[in-house]
Homo-oligomer: 203 residues x 2
């Protein structure tokens, strides 16, 4: 493997780095968030702060599913990381996998992990959740809340919840939905950019 070998070519690294302000919002690694509401409140707070810092209005975090220990916060880093891949869910999952030391966080025996996201996943993040090894997904705002302000979620299958559950990923929706949707509405009202919407599409 070549993880410790810098490329000899001229191609740049791509880096997902959490912003300095994250500790102010998320507190320490391993902080305990007992309930789904507690966990979603963090995801929503990350979304709101990220928007205030000039980023997209999306936050997420990975927790241990039972105890609710914070493993990794995430937020939309599309602009600072310079890549369309860096949605809040992808950032939280990627940082969590680094922290846990496993590209598949479900080893079938040990600790189980959950992803909490301020908004239902777009088509990319729907797929990313499947491969990540989380066994639970908790969502705040719905797709229609996201699309109401002009963001595009892409062609997420109508049966996306059933698709995840058939793969062993439990889904809980509408946790602090109003608070999560308010972040989106406030973002749109501020006149901040709605990216990824140019090419439209029917859903």
């Amino acid at each position: 493997m070549s993880e410790s070998t810098p490329t000899t070519g001229p191609w740049p690294d791509a880096v997902f780095r959490l912003p300095a302000w994250v500790a102010e919002v998320a507190g320490p690694v391993g902080g305990v968030f007992p309930t789904a509401t507690d966990r979603m409140a963090l995801a929503v707070a990350l979304a709101r702060r990220n928007a205030a810092e000039g980023g997209g209005p999306f936050g997420a975090a990975v927790f241990t599913a039972d105890e609710g220990r914070l493993v990794a916060p995430g937020m939309n880093l599309v602009l600072p990381a310079g890549t369309s891949i860096a949605h809040a869910e992808v950032v939280a999952l990627t940082v969590a996998q680094q922290a846990v030391g496993a590209h598949d966080m479900d080893d079938g025996a040990g600790t189980r992990f959950e992803l909490v996201t301020s908004a239902a996943p777009c088509i990319q993040c729907f797929g990313a959740v499947i491969w990540s090894g989380v066994t639970r997904l908790v969502c705040g705002a719905r797709k229609e809340d996201v699309e109401a302000i002009g963001f595009d979620e892409g062609p997420v299958p109508a049966d996306w919840v059933e698709q995840l559950e058939s793969r062993g990923i439990a889904v809980q929706r509408d946790v602090l939905r109003d608070e999560a949707a308010a972040v989106l509405r406030d973002y749109a009202a501020s006149g901040a950019p709605i990216y990824n919407a140019r090419r439209g599409g029917s859903d």
Copy 2:
């Protein structure tokens, strides 16, 4: 924005770094690959070398669509990068976006970009393609070739080609399909790990 501010928290960065051997396979930045076959031959060669180096049997590259100048090679870095996100397509797109300096490579006026991948995209990468700004996708092996050796592509919509084309992304399939599928078969025959397959699923 916080791109230049290291995190003050203890959360690790996630880094996609191309391996040192990539220059041996891909040649210099800006090398010209005139035809779809030329471009796919590179993606397949990246897949084969990556498998030989202990990685997944998947390669990809981003080119300028008209001239065929190499913008970024990619390969499956799930194991060395330690994240399930780092499929070949995501790596190529992310590095290309760094190289181009744009999170959306389609500015609607200038150079257009294409993603060439040794295998049809899984559900995550299908979504990633939509947000990336490429205007053309070229695939080698088909989903059934990938799934024949036990990898899971996830619930990719049956009309995925039409979904991409409706969003302005042209799709060409079956370019060097036999050569691309041979990399997959050789990988499986070598007894190398088929990850991301444990939870199964119907497609």
